[in-house]
């Protein structure tokens, strides 16, 4: 709640300013700043947090505006009622638009979104709604939101914006926001961490569409005239993007900063230069945006924050974070180091039978079968391109196998989506690390905890525990962007651990680590196994693995080359040949 204070203070200052300003033109600007800030926030909830940029939020905005106009013209309803109705319409259209469009990613998503408002623009023109005006209500102005005192518009807009800010913050701080951020940084990693990406994305576009619809409905009340280009036009969608990107994407402050700066600047330029050198205002406005984006590519908010943080890093390190968990922070390792590992218990946790995967003519994985016993460490090795990562992707559901079975804990999991497998107890890390750089270590790990946690508190608790188990507690409050490679590797393991997996798939966890670092990580993996975790680890260097694993599975050209004890496998001539070439076979045997 402490962090709400700045926002409430800002709102209070704005309200005071509103009451003081008597010039109706300045008052209109005060209203429009809030309208565009709200619209920017609506866009931000979907595009800012998921990273799927929408060029088409005018679709929701326009539907909202037309809801007000048509509702008042044809049904004589008041905007007080029509604004909530517009929110419902916006939400429903969000669902209808999101469902097919989320099949697309990146630029394709952005372009597809662009099409919706453009199509709607023509539909509304075709329906004969080229120009609508909200009928003037001379006898009951208040009931129809037609205030003679323009300050009331600003106050209504302020209340609306405040509500949207609170919604955004609630989203940002909950598993909803965490899920969206995780999807933004890496949808695959998010799925692997147990997040049902499609469901969360749909929730975000429904919420975003609902807010945009309400804002559009209010905009119609302010503007009083609704035309398809003025509410469905490219410029409307662009306005949301501009204020959010200028101010900072993915934060509640971004669109607020963007709107507070850009709307008045644009209008002042229009007012001062429009009649003198017509058109120059657009040039200056455009140049100003270009300069700011060049100087602050992630938006004003993030650039300023980074600068402030850099200045006060040491001070910040001293201050305890608000999110500090109640869980006790145990020392990194209390267990005796030399304890012998217990042998595999014999019970089979994962059984792979005849697994194959082809990409066209390429057989990436051919007829692979093996068992993983509870508590053991399985090393999957093989030269580059042997099909190791493809095998992992088959195991955790990123790819459907062409044939074969993956039986996890007695259930055939073929065809399950990654987040389902994650919930069932299969956790994984990635060869290419996917940290969420702007989140703290603890929050990075927390993303992985939601798959098992029933509530925020439990998620915090699970995350703290996982951080502790990999020995990252001392750096738990650092931003992920500040970590070393080793710490990032450990953080990825912690993120997988937070979801309480029973089988941990580690993809080249030792890659890029120095000798000493690799040993540290190895020790941690060993300790996990000792505590009962079952681990399958991919590596292409054999050395570091020999001491770590209980059993080796060697792949070459997608097929199993050897399967057995480390000692035995490293002496296998076929393995040596696959790794080093024929002439080394004799050499090694000598």
């Amino acid at each position: 709640m402490r962090s709400l204070v700045p926002i409430l203070i800002a709102a209070l200052i704005y309200a005071c300013l509103t009451l003081v300003v008597s010039n109706s033109y300045y008052q209109l600007m005060l209203t429009l700043v809030l309208v565009w800030a709200s619209f920017g926030l609506a866009w931000n909830i979907q595009s800012g947090y998921t990273g799927l940029v929408s060029f088409g939020h005018a679709a929701f905005f326009g539907l909202g505006a037309y809801t007000t106009a048509l509702g008042q013209i044809y049904f004589d309803l008041t905007p007080w009622l029509l604004i909530p109705i517009a929110a419902v319409i916006g939400g429903v259209s969000g669902l209808l638009i999101g469902f097919p469009t989320f099949r697309l990613r990146g630029h394709y998503f952005a372009l597809a979104m662009l099409a919706y408002p453009l199509a709607m623009l023509y539909v509304f023109e075709w329906l004969g709604f080229q120009e609508l005006t909200l009928p003037i209500k001379r006898d009951a102005p208040l009931a129809y939101m037609q205030f003679s005192d323009p300050r009331l518009y600003t106050l209504v807009a302020l209340a609306m914006l405040l509500a949207i800010v609170l919604i955004t913050r609630a989203v940002e701080r909950s598993r909803f926001g965490m899920a969206l951020l995780a999807i933004k940084q890496n949808e695959a990693a998010a799925e692997a961490a147990g997040i049902d990406a499609l469901a969360w994305k749909l929730r975000s576009i429904v919420l975003s569409g609902a807010i945009a619809g309400a804002v559009g409905a209010f905009y119609a009340v302010v503007l009083l005239v609704v035309t398809p280009p003025s509410v469905f036009g490219m410029l409307v969608s662009a306005q949301a993007l501009t204020v959010a990107m200028f101010g900072g994407v993915g934060t509640v402050w971004g669109p607020l900063i963007g709107a507070v700066i850009l709307i008045p600047v644009g209008e002042i330029l229009n007012a001062e230069l429009g009649a003198r050198i017509p058109g120059i205002q657009g040039v200056i406005y455009g140049l100003a945006i270009i300069v700011v984006i060049l100087v602050a590519p992630e938006g004003v908010f993030w650039t300023l924050r980074d600068r402030l943080r850099r200045g006060a890093r040491t001070a910040a390190a001293m201050t305890p974070e608000l999110s500090a968990p109640a869980a006790p922070l145990a020392p990194a390792d209390t267990r005796p180091a030399g304890q012998p590992r217990k042998p595999p218990s014999g019970e089979i946790l994962l059984s792979v039978k005849g697994l194959s995967k082809s990409f066209g003519g390429l057989k990436a994985v051919q007829d692979v079968s093996f068992d993983v016993h509870r508590g053991m460490i399985l090393g999957i090795i093989g030269p580059n391109g042997a099909g190791k990562t493809t095998l992992f992707n088959l195991l955790n559901g990123f790819l459907p196998p062409s044939s074969g079975e993956v039986v996890f804990d007695g259930r055939n999991m073929v065809g399950c989506r990654p987040h389902v497998l994650c919930k069932a107890g299969v956790g994984r890390t990635f060869q290419i690390m996917r940290p969420f750089p702007r989140m703290s270590v603890r929050d990075n790990v927390r993303v992985g905890a939601y798959v098992q946690a029933a509530n925020e508190q439990e998620a915090h608790h699970l995350a703290a525990d996982a951080v502790n188990r990999v020995g990252l507690s001392p750096v738990a409050d650092k931003m992920a962007a500040e970590l070393t490679t080793k710490e990032l590797r450990l953080m990825e393991i912690a993120r997988a651990l937070a979801g309480k997996p029973r089988l941990l798939l580690l993809d080249e966890t030792l890659a890029g680590l120095g000798h000493g670092e690799a040993d540290e990580v190895t020790a941690i993996v060993q300790r996990l196994a000792r505590d009962g975790m079952t681990v399958a680890i991919i590596e292409h260097t054999m050395q570091s693995m020999v001491r770590l694993v209980d059993r080796f599975l060697v792949l070459d050209h997608g097929a199993v080359l050897a399967d057995g004890e480390p000692e035995q496998v490293t002496r296998d001539p076929r393995v040596i040949e696959a790794y080093l070439g024929k002439k080394w076979v004799a050499h090694a045997q000598a």
Binding site: Q130, E131, L223, S230, P278, I280
Partner: protein, 411 residues
């Protein structure tokens, strides 16, 4: 000045003194303070060009009024134009209007805002600020909202739709001595073209005894106009309604018609609106191709405006005078008349003067009189028919306003 009688002088002085003491106390010391008039038009963005032309008309109007002695009822007070850019979106237009009424509080009237969506947005603001606005925009909605401070000088879109066809029939009869019997339509599928054609298809043609012999709708951009023009040649209509939105489509069709020997007015080719008669079109289509093309517009430079056209050409290098220039020029005179009638530089009084005015035949708007009905529409407003003749679109109908004879094939 010298030919005024002493009586008129006294009355004028007295009125001016009253007006000044009532309306402009701070200007007491001056003999006659400037009377400020707003011109809120698009000067930037997509519609900057028509906005600029409106400004030319307004500046000429103000200069002529001032050099003719200003507003006599206000002691020869001069008019002063306050130009405000209303941009290229409805929101910018609304903002500009709000700025106008908040910042320029001494305006007595305004003219604007070209596009009817802009005019709608602007007048939502001016209505609440009780500032009278004259507009050349067509939309019926502008004066259908029960507003008291907006005055439409052109015939509304609805009225134009009713007027245009009978007007063209009359033109054809006068020019060729025969009543057209068959028509063809070539239009694209954009909203405005579809809207213009719809009433014709739905009974208007039948009412006038016209047979629709060919009706083609295409999607812009057109890659080849041959099939369309071939159909025109085959059906040989007495009139062709020609409604392209994209200039390149218009060019393709006109080129093809010339190639087939149907151009140059051999088949009377009729468009609607101002776009086909704007000077800009000559950058894309050569005047030879346009020869004979007819369009119906709300207003145009007509008989009696020759000096204005000449002045516009020398002063602003505009080749001819479109509705935007002549209508806005007329607006300045109309505001001046209202000021004379009101006797004071006060927006409420000017609005009341406009409402009650009965200024006789209109000099700068086609047809009708200088009087507004209870909605704010100019009584009996008519429209003009303009034809491209030797590289210039000239008014050819109604006859009393025509500056040239229309040519229409006599066969």
């Amino acid at each position: 000045m010298t030919d005024h009688t002493p009586l008129a002088l006294t009355r004028r002085t007295m009125l001016a003194a009253t007006a000044l003491s009532l309306a402009a106390p701070r200007a007491f010391a001056q003999a006659a303070a400037d009377v400020r008039i707003g011109l809120i038009v698009p000067l930037s963005g997509l519609y900057a060009r028509p906005g600029a032309v409106m400004r030319m008309g307004a500046e000429m109007g103000v200069d002529h009024i001032n050099s003719a002695g200003g507003v006599k009822a206000l002691g020869g007070a001069k008019l002063k134009l306050v130009v405000i850019d209303c941009g290229d979106t409805t929101e910018k237009a609304k903002n500009a209007a709000q700025r106008m009424v908040a910042q320029e509080t001494d305006l007595v009237a305004a003219s604007g805002a070209y596009l009817s969506s802009f005019t709608l947005a602007v007048t939502e603001v001016t209505e609440r600020a009780q500032l009278p606005v004259l507009t050349l925009s067509y939309s019926d909605l502008i004066t259908d909202r029960g507003f008291k401070y907006v005055f439409q000088t052109s015939a509304t879109a609805g009225s134009q739709a009713r007027q245009a066809l009978p007007l063209l029939m009359k033109l054809a009869e006068t020019a060729s001595g025969k009543r057209p019997k068959t028509v063809a339509i070539i239009g694209d599928n954009t909203a405005s073209s579809v809207a213009s054609v719809k009433p014709m298809r739905e009974g208007l043609l039948k009412e006038l005894g016209l047979e629709l012999v060919m009706d083609e709708t295409f999607t812009p951009p057109l890659s080849d106009a041959t099939p369309l023009v071939q159909k025109v040649r085959a059906s040989r209509p007495d009139m062709l309604f020609f409604l392209p939105t994209v200039i390149s489509d218009g060019k393709l069709i006109l080129e093809k018609m010339n190639e087939f020997g149907l151009g140059q007015g051999r088949i009377p080719t009729i468009s609607f609106g101002i776009a086909i008669a704007e000077p800009d079109i000559l950058q894309t289509i050569s005047p030879d191709l346009l020869q004979g093309v007819i369009t119906c517009v709300g207003s145009w430079a007509t008989k009696g405006h020759e000096d204005l056209v000449k002045e516009l050409k020398t002063r602003f290098n505009e080749p001819w005078m479109t509705q935007n220039a002549i209508s806005t020029y007329g607006d300045m005179w109309l505001i001046k008349e209202a000021l004379e009638k009101a006797g004071k530089a006060d927006k409420l009084a000017v609005a009341e003067a406009l409402r009650t005015m009965d200024g006789g035949p209109s000099k700068y708007y086609p047809g009708g009189i200088l009087k507004f009905d209870e909605k704010g529409r100019r009584v009996d407003a008519e429209m003009t028919v303009v034809q491209w003749q030797k590289g210039i679109p000239v008014t050819v109908f109604p006859q009393k306003l025509a500056v040239a004879e229309p040519f229409w094939p006599k066969r």
